[in-house]
Structure formats: C-alpha cells, structure tokens
Point group: C4
C-alpha cells in the first residue's frame, strides 16, 4: 500500500463546495459536529483515505471489519454543497500529519473546494455554561467575515497554537493559497461535548448558509449532562456509576 | 538489507492452501495455536521473512544465533494444505506493520492461498472457565460460515478493534479481495493460555477440515493450571513460587 | 510538501555575512540573543524554512495563523552583515535534526556566510551571579580568537557534548569546511535567562564588530529577577504568585 | 549527509584481518575491551562512520568538537591484523541499527576481514567474583573453536537474545556468509566493568593469537573496586562519596 491511498467510492458533481474537517480532538467537538452533518443531511460517501501512518488496526461492525481510514462525504446542505472529512484517527507521527494533510489538500483542490473549515475544541479546564466559539484564520478576510458570525478572535489564542490535521489544514492550506479557518468551540476538555459541537455548527450554518436539525445532538447533550451530574454526585460520596454511564467519557 | 527480505528455504507445491497467522499477542493464543500445527503435523519450512522493522536482535539456540524473523511453514494437514506463519515478533512501528502485512499478502497471492485466518486472543480481564471463540471477517460469507462452526460474532466486538498484523491481514486483505477472518479465543489476558489456543484450533479443524492431536497442548494447559493454582495460593498468603513456576508467565 | 521547504521572502545582497543561530534551548539563551539582534537592529526577513520534521502545528497571532517554521533574517549591524536564524522549534526527531542542519548549511554556503555562530546556554543547576561564557569550536583558529574575547574553553566541557541544531551546525559544518563555534552562556537552566543572552551578545559584539542596545534585554532581565524573587518568597511561605508572574517561566 | 557516511582517514594494507566490535552496552565491557586494544597496541585510524541515526550531537575535547561517529582503527597485534570498531553511540532507532550494521559489513567485506567478533557483557544482576565468558556464534565451527578457548555456550543463553549492533553483526553477517561470534563477559550490569573486559580480551588473545598488556585495565579495575567499596560503605551508613568517585559509574 502507498503511504496514502485513496479509495474512490462515488463520483459526485458539486457546486462550489466547502471543505469541512472533523477528526478526533479535544472534547471530540470537531468529530461530533462533522458527523452530525453527515448523519442529519443528505450525504454520500465519496472516498476513503488509508495510510500507513494510521494505526495498524481494523474496527469491527456487525462482525465485519473496516481498515483504519478517514472518510470524505459529499453533504447536500440545501443550496450549499459540502465535502466533510470524518474519521476515528489522527496520523500517528509528525511526518504522517504533514503527508495526510497534503493528501487532503490535493482532494480539496481537485474539487475546487473553498474555503476549508477545520472544526475543533478549545479546552478551558473547567465545566462551562457558555459555549463561546474561538477562531483562527489564514486571511484577514476570513477573520473579518467569521467575526460577523460571532466567532471570537482573541489575539494569540489558543496560546499553544493549533496542532494536528486542523492546524496543518490552515498552515499548508495558506501555502497553497486556499483560504482556511479553524472554528473551535470552548469545552471543558474532560468530556465528549455535544453542546460545544452545537455551538460550532451554529456558526457554520451562518457562514455557509444552510440549516440542520439539532435534536439528536441535543439528546446526546442531555445524556452527557446526566453523566456530569452523576460524576458530581460521585465526588460528593454517592455510589459509583455503572459502566454504561462511563461509556460516554472519552 | 531491504526493508522486507524473504529467504526462500524450500519450494513446495500446495493444493489450494489456506493461510494461517499466529504471531505473539494477547495470551499468546494465536502463536500457541499456529506453533501447535507446525509441531504436531507434517510440516516443512518454506521461507523466513526478515525486516528492518523487526527488533535489532538475534535469538540463541544451542549457542547458535538466528536473526529476528517470521517463518512460514507448509503444513500438510491430511487433505488440507496450510501455510502457517509463526514468529516471536510483531513489527516495531506503524509503517512496519503495514509493510510486513503487504509482504505477507504478496506471499499469500503467490501461493494462491485462500482464505486467510488470523488467530489471536480476546482479553476478558478475569480467569475464565468457558473458552468462547469470537470472530470478525471481511465478508458476510465468511462470517456466516464461521458462525456455523460455533464462532460468535458479537456486533462491534472487540470494541477496540483488532490491532497489529492480525488486524491488517483483514484490512489490507479485503482491499486485495482476499477473504480473511480473525478467530479469537477468549482468555484472561494475564497468562499464556493453551486452553484458549485449543478452542481456536477446534474451530479451525472444522472450518478447514483436518484433525490434530491436542495432548501436548493439554499438557501445557495442565502446567498453566498449576501455575494459576500457585498464584492463587500466593495471594492467600502461601510462600512465593520458584522462578521455574513463573517462567510460564508472559 | 518536501521534507524541508524554503519560502524565499526577500532577495538581499550581503557583504561577507556571518551566520548566527538561536533556536530554543537551555534557558532560551540562544533564542533570546538572536531575537534581540533581529528586533534591535535594522533587519529584513529573508526566508522561512518549513519541515515535515517540525511539529504539525500553527501558531496564532492576532487571529491569523503561521505554520511552524524557522526564519532567517538579514541583520545590518553597522559594518557587519548578519544572517540570523530564529524560530520556536527544534526538529522533532534525529533524522530531522540532521536534515534541517544540512538545509541550513546549504543556505550558509549560498550566501557565502562565514563563520557560523551557534548560540546557546549551559546549565549550572543553580542560580548564578556571574555569567561566564563557554565556547566550543571546529578549528583551533576560532578557539584562539574567541578566547581573546573572554570566551572560556574548558577541556571537554560541556561534558554531555552539544546537542540539537547548535551541535550539528558545528559537526556538519566542519565536514563542509565551514568554520563554526558554539557560544554558550552559563545559566541556571530553570528560567528564561536574558542576562545570559546579554553575556553571549557582548562576546558576539567583539568577535564580529558591531554594537547593539541592551536596554530591552535588561528590562526583561529585571522582570525575571522579580519572578525569581517571588519564587524565593513562595518557598519561604508567602502567597502564590499570579498567573502573570509565572508567564515568564519556560 | 547520507544516512551513513564514511570518512576515509588512512589507507591501510592488512593481512587477513579480523574484525572486532566494541560499542557501548552492558557494563561497557565491549567498549572497554575494544578501546584497550586501540590504546595499548600499535594502531591507526582508518575511517569514521557518521549517520543520521546517531544522536544529533558533537562531543567536545580541548574545546574542539567532534560529530557523533563510530571509528574503525587498524590495530597491529604482532602477527595479527585487526580492524577494531569503537564509538560512543548505538544507532537511535530500529532501522538505523540495521542500516549501520549493513554499512559495517560492507567495510568488513571490503577488507576481507574474517571472522567478526562482537564484544559485550552479560548482566548477572549481582556483583560477581568469577568472570565467565559466554559465547554465541553463527556457525558450529566457530562455536567449537571458541569452546576450546574457554568460552561457554549455554543452550539458549542469553535468554533475551543479543540486541543492538552486536546481535545484528551476527544475524546479518550470517546472511552474508561471514562467520561471526559474540563474546560476552559476565558482569553485574550496574557498573563499568574493566575486569569483565579483561576476561573477554584473554579469550580474544588465544582465539586470534596476540598479546596485550593489561596493566592499565587492571588500574581501572582497581579504581572501580574502590568505588564499589565506597558504595557498599554508603549502604552501611557511611558518608556519601564525592562527585569524583561517582564519575566512574555509568
């Protein structure tokens, strides 16, 4: 197998598509948001990307295996066409991160997709009530536009920069003159956070111009709140939760 | 030396061989099972596979050294011809796992071997009495067939997926249209487990159609039960076991 | 992207330039010294060096992102022309260190720059009053010359050798017949150390023949002394410092 | 720089040379033994081997730097010509170990050197009085010959095999039909062990047919015994030793 190997599943004809990335990261915010788009809207698997820099692993569903990969779906969001990247893995090493991002940007260019939105979370270190959305962009034009939709640009935040595929989509995207922005929902960093994903998607709705139903994400948020409540009770000396409750964590 | 280097030892002429993998893993279930076939049945070393992704190491036997490698034996199991992969090492890095598996699948294709059975263990986290055998397959046909032989397919179990060469033989095998299945014996995960290997081999006997004598494996299982008994006694305050007893662990 | 990718920003015409390296390291001495030259003197960004061996990361400034890189500025220091390397990262792996240094030495040769000065710190393990400057060189001529400017050469110190880009600029530089020296300010190793950077720059002023104003570095040194004082008070039981105080550490 | 780069220093004309390896390892036994040959006998530096798989580092001697490397000296041991490999580093990764050993075996073949002796230590885990020498070989002929000189071949000992360059010189040497043996002095594993190096060299004297003066090695052994004595006193509650004493450890 090549270092990066694209399996084409369907040919699609898209009008001025936007590229959206949601791989695993802080609070799984980006992953939840991107998967929500694929599940709730009219969508179609376009390709799978395999890589020797992904974990040497298959996942199992209904007894059948799937080699570790990232998937790109075409999502038809009303008038807007989206290419949405989802998956369960980041690359496993530094060189792999750069190579995977270059492979993704080749696909972005192939479809003439623009701009690129990388979705993620920013950890606050504490449980939060308000889900601010922080941004970073490769161009002043994107920054100014996203500010209009309520995204906050806070000097040099996040201070540690943006790491992984999200960061490189901006860094390598800029070098190819592909406008790109990272949209990050605030999140505690301790739990999978559907509310933060919701906040990120609300920005995206406005920036791109589409609508998506949030009820399933709200249901997951309610489930998470139950988990948080039980954890807080635990800390106050109540019995330990069942395995099922903890399944939502991490 | 090339990244992957095949040393041909014997030319063999096999009828519709089946490929069986048993490298080290949980409870050494796959390794025990595969080595049992090589030792108990009529077998012949076909080739050794060396790799710069194996540990930089030689083993020593009777004062003579052997470079780290994996070995493929032809095993003549009655009417069935088998190609059995054994060895002491997994690849040492992600890229090496993919490259080693590709090298193995080249050999599988060279001999027209089909299907591929990857043998392994599934950890339960506790000492067990009943040795269920869990499966995962690349095709519904293989899944259905193995179910008839008592292999259990349990939704998305194992939840963490299947890692290492076993997982990739399925993942990369599927991409080459080579039918493959992983047959995993339940095992505590704490000890080398000949009983679990026995359970896996019983499935294989039925699926492939051959017979093998289990007495040496049963002897090792008895030895392991002695070890377990002594460990349980230790936990109840009896004297520590001798080094010899512990030699069987890991 | 190539393993090492040079983005040319400005063409410059330099007279017999000297190359100065100041990447992060012990006490950030080299980095502080090199950045001070770029900030205080007349300077111009010549190129950025990107690499798949840098962290997969962008930094954020005013909401805009910059891919991880090293930067080379032309610095016009009176009669002396300097090429000054600064950045926030060392390479992430052994092979990357060698490759990045080779890329840098290609640029050194392209501009005919000579000699190469690698700036850094030597940890003493305790807070110090006197900032001795230790040296190591590729040639006896450079050693003798630097000794005249007060640099101390102490047998085989530093005992652990010199690691990272600084070490390789000497090691690989010597193999290309480029004279090179490492100039290391003593520093505790616990704190960012502007005073040690000051001591290193004073040597450089004499060795190259230029002058730079130290007041901003002295201001940072004063700030650090406040931090040290507060830490010492902490150890004696006074209240913990604010986050702002600790921002200067590391 | 290439992955492995040979700097030729002197042309030498050797009669049926033997190749001896002594890189750092358990108790520094191999390194001490090999360096003793280079220092005590008539010797000449033949070449240095640099590698991007060595640490990115220079060492410093008299203020001058030397890039991390391994060195091969021609050693004229009476009637016997030796090629002796010494150095301060093993390769830093698995692929580097294989590549470095292949580079060394190219040189072995270039000089027609045979056999290859890899020197090292075997840890016993306790301070020892008798320094047995254990062997492992690629051929029965070498095993039988070394047994005559008092080397012990003990079944599959060392149980963990032989790792690093020593192991691969045998493993890859055998694949090139170069006879090779590893000669390992028993050692506690806790301290640099000149006595164990002495025992290894005595075997080598007989196997190759040369004589070397051991007095400097005996002096170092005496120094180490002082250190051991002081450590033993420490454990019995006497004052801590000076830094100078501890310098000999590791």
């Amino acid at each position: 197998m090549d270092d990066f190997d694209i399996e084409r599943v369907a040919e699609v004809d898209l009008q001025d598509p936007v590229f959206i990335e949601g791989l695993p990261g802080v609070g799984h915010v980006g992953k939840l948001a991107a998967e929500h788009l694929v599940e709730e809207l009219d969508s179609e698997l376009v390709c799978r990307i395999y890589s020797t820099h992904f974990p040497p692993q298959v996942s199992v569903e209904e007894g059948l295996t799937q080699l570790a990969c990232a998937e790109i779906h075409a999502v038809y969001a009303g008038d807007a066409d989206l290419l949405v990247l989802t998956g369960d893995h980041q690359a496993q090493d530094t060189v792999g991160h750069y190579g995977l991002t270059d492979t993704l940007l080749d696909i972005v260019e192939e479809y003439g997709a623009s701009p690129v939105y990388a979705l993620g979370g920013v950890p606050t270190g504490e449980l939060i009530e308000e889900y601010d959305v922080i941004g970073a962009a490769t161009t002043e034009a994107m920054r100014d536009e996203l500010e209009e939709f309520g995204v906050e640009f806070r000097g040099n935040e996040p201070e540690g920069g943006i790491v992984g595929i999200s960061g490189l989509l901006l860094g390598l995207g800029e070098r190819r003159d592909i406008p790109a922005a990272c949209i990050m929902g605030q999140t505690s960093g301790y739990l999978v956070d559907p509310k933060s994903a919701n906040a990120v998607l609300e920005v995206l709705e406005e920036a791109i111009g589409f609508e998506v139903d949030f009820s399933s994400l709200e249901d997951r948020a309610d489930e998470m709140e139950d988990v948080v409540r039980k954890i807080q009770e635990m800390e106050q000396g109540t019995p330990t939760p069942s395995d099922e409750d903890l399944r939502y964590i991490g």
